[in-house]
Symmetry: C2
Subunit: 419 residues, 2 copies
């Protein structure tokens, strides 16, 4: 037997029904917000990703040379390809430009729960605007997508990398120290941050204030800390404005300021946000996004850009963990001819119902009534249509409701009213 490659997955019909349902709800929500879908290739030139994320990303990539010696890589994320497409083909479009996409991505990671080597992302880019209203709408969209797919308990956090930088500066934390602290901040490991800073001889009071600035959700406390840094103060005011819009206009109650959002400090600038599903425990982050600068790196004309990515697989895991009842996809009817002679007639009936838009199947194995009934009850079907000779003389067939067991004689021409 051939094995599936490690870290990848097959999706059975049951799983695909869930996935397509969630994808469709997400797509419709993007479209309601004026976003339009794009798609890019599964692989790109390797340099597209090293230009964005540095050479170190190669470690995490599936890459290969094609037969002409070009270095190609399976895409690890979708923002770089989307911006490549934008610079190549959409720069002249009227702004703001709202683009969304679904796509499989690949990372050569150690597989674990909620982390696969092939995984799917849903995401979007908002190009050409940086007003508070635009940012609030972007963040609200991410939140509402996750609400619309059926998640009950999600938490939204918004932060700002420029304010975080300002905090580093105010507390005299060097670049070197920032590098060590970033992963600890990312994981909210405040004890470790405390001992790390103590090691370097920071004052107790400064350490306390710095950690408080990462923990507080009160904009005022942070404003007090950064008041000497005009730019940070302005960004903090804007962040507060965005928070107000999210709470009051977009009606999002579970939203907090959190300065400890780090993300990729390299190309994100200013606004950052995350959405968590606490039900997932350690791997709880469903969505990350913010404002970033990538267009000029890709030789396009600079314009404000922001966006987010949603982990599609984790969203499904979160729904399952919350015991969400996905809508069941059922066949509308299954047709059984009483004997082989009636096969053609049964096929005609089946076919006419399909033409009218119903999903209908019939016994293709010619295996007789009782086996067909057994098959029909093993699949997910609402109604059975039994085609018998006597009833046909009257242009009728028997309909059996599989939930109640009730049977009824129905004219063939009226079948569509009964299923």
């Amino acid at each position: 037997m051939f094995q599936i490659p490690r870290g990848t997955r097959d999706f059975t019909p049951e799983e695909m029904e869930k996935r397509r349902y969630v994808e469709e709800v997400m797509r419709k929500t993007f479209q309601r917000y004026g976003y339009r879908e794009i798609q890019t290739p599964i692989f790109e030139t390797l340099e597209l990703f090293t230009a964005k994320s540095g050479e170190s990303i190669i470690e995490e990539l599936y890459f290969f040379k094609d037969k002409s010696g070009r270095d190609l890589a399976l895409r690890p994320e979708l923002t770089a390809p989307a911006i490549r497409l934008y610079v190549d083909k959409l720069q002249m479009e009227p702004k703001p430009l709202k683009l969304f996409y679904f796509g499989n991505c690949f990372r050569y990671d150690r597989p674990q729960k909620g982390r696969y080597r092939e995984f799917m992302q849903a995401g979007c880019e908002l190009i050409g605007t940086d007003t508070s209203e635009a940012y609030a709408e972007l963040i609200a969209l991410a939140f509402i997508i996750l609400k619309n797919v059926g998640l009950k308990d999600i938490k939204l956090y918004i932060g700002n990398l420029n304010v975080l930088s300002s905090l580093f500066k105010i507390f005299n934390i060097t670049k070197e120290q920032q590098k060590k602290l970033t992963p600890l901040i990312d994981k909210s490991q405040f004890k470790e941050i405390d001992s790390y800073l103590k090691e370097f001889g920071f004052l107790e009071k400064d350490i306390e204030n710095f950690i408080k600035s990462l923990q507080t959700s009160d904009a005022k406390e942070i404003l007090e800390l950064v008041e000497k840094d005009k730019q940070a103060e302005n960004e903090m005011m804007k962040l507060n404005e965005i928070l107000d819009l999210l709470k009051n206009v977009f009606d999002i109650k579970t939203c907090e300021i959190k300065m400890g959002i780090v993300r990729g400090l390299d190309y994100y600038k200013g606004l950052v946000f995350e959405i968590d599903a606490p039900v997932l425990g350690a791997e709880k982050q469903l969505c990350g996004g913010g404002a970033y600068e990538l267009i000029s790196l890709f030789k396009g004309k600079e314009t404000p850009t922001s966006g987010f990515a949603i982990g599609f697989d984790r969203t499904i895991l979160a729904l399952e963990a919350e015991k969400y009842r996905f809508p069941a996809k059922k066949l509308d009817a299954f047709v059984i001819p009483v004997n082989e002679e009636l096969t053609i007639k049964a096929l005609e009936i089946t076919n006419n119902l399909r033409k009218q838009g119903f999903s209908v199947d019939m016994d293709l194995l010619k295996r007789g009534m009782s086996k067909s009934l057994k098959y029909a009850s093993s699949i997910n079907v609402d109604k059975i249509i039994i085609v018998g000779k006597k009833e046909l003389e009257n242009d009728s067939v028997t309909i059996r409701n599989m939930n109640t067991g009730e049977q009824e004689l129905v004219k063939i021409d009226d079948l569509h009213k009964k299923i």
Copy 2:
């Protein structure tokens, strides 16, 4: 600027709208016929494809070693992965099992019109039945999918590889000669077949009869030729039965028998069929399928299998060549506040309409009335909602129909009735 890899494509919003529309029509048609969707990884172990198609396929593959030295390949087609999934996870499901899928595939080909290195296929497998009714339904499904997406002129051909083998035997054409003839037969190059057979000293009359057997669509003529070969005669009778079902039950008029369908002679057995879109010229084949044996090769329990693959990209090309009018996706409304003070109110109106399921956008750049109107007319939108101070005092806004230019004052609570 970074380049897109050769032979791959980006899809802009306009193109994606067409593609998602066609994909959705295809999906719904599969589901009406009782098929259920599956999905497999983008890459598989290299040996999955060499086992099925021989070592020579490596030439056409994107393959690479992962960091543990495993040989992996981007999938060139979807039948082998689907059957791997079936053997691995679905063998115990009740039969017949009807599976369909969409997926990108990769071939290291010379790019040309209608042939890309990354391309999309739609396809299905029917597992566990080989009745004429089942085969007729499978073939009809392929045809009806292509009709449902909007194609006007398509032609269906059905053949049988066992009958073709019998014809080879009857005319004493050796295996070696068959190998040379197969590509000529595939391309209907009858002159070349004629001179090739003459070269080998075949009798004029035999050559004529052999070529006639490839050209005729009359089952009787072929039946006469193979009458000494009982198995071939039976298969030919069954093919004729399938043809009758297609014409009479499934109402497909443009359907013909064609013995010159070759396909991959390796794992296809018996029934084969093709659907062409003549509008595409040389690259006209949209769909190919038939019965095949692959399950036992993959160490599963043998059971009849058949299926088909539709070239998704060529289907789009054929629709475009036939000047099919794809349904336009429009925003339902675009909201413009008359001045900056009204931005929040406009955002609230926008948001309420979105909650009611409308696709609505608003000016996020705060650039004033006339620029916003210009933007609105540059995008595809039906109605503009103008939010003005005076009208708001009356809980009303102005709606402008972008097609007729008509304006109307509407209560905010009644907006959903007007868009």
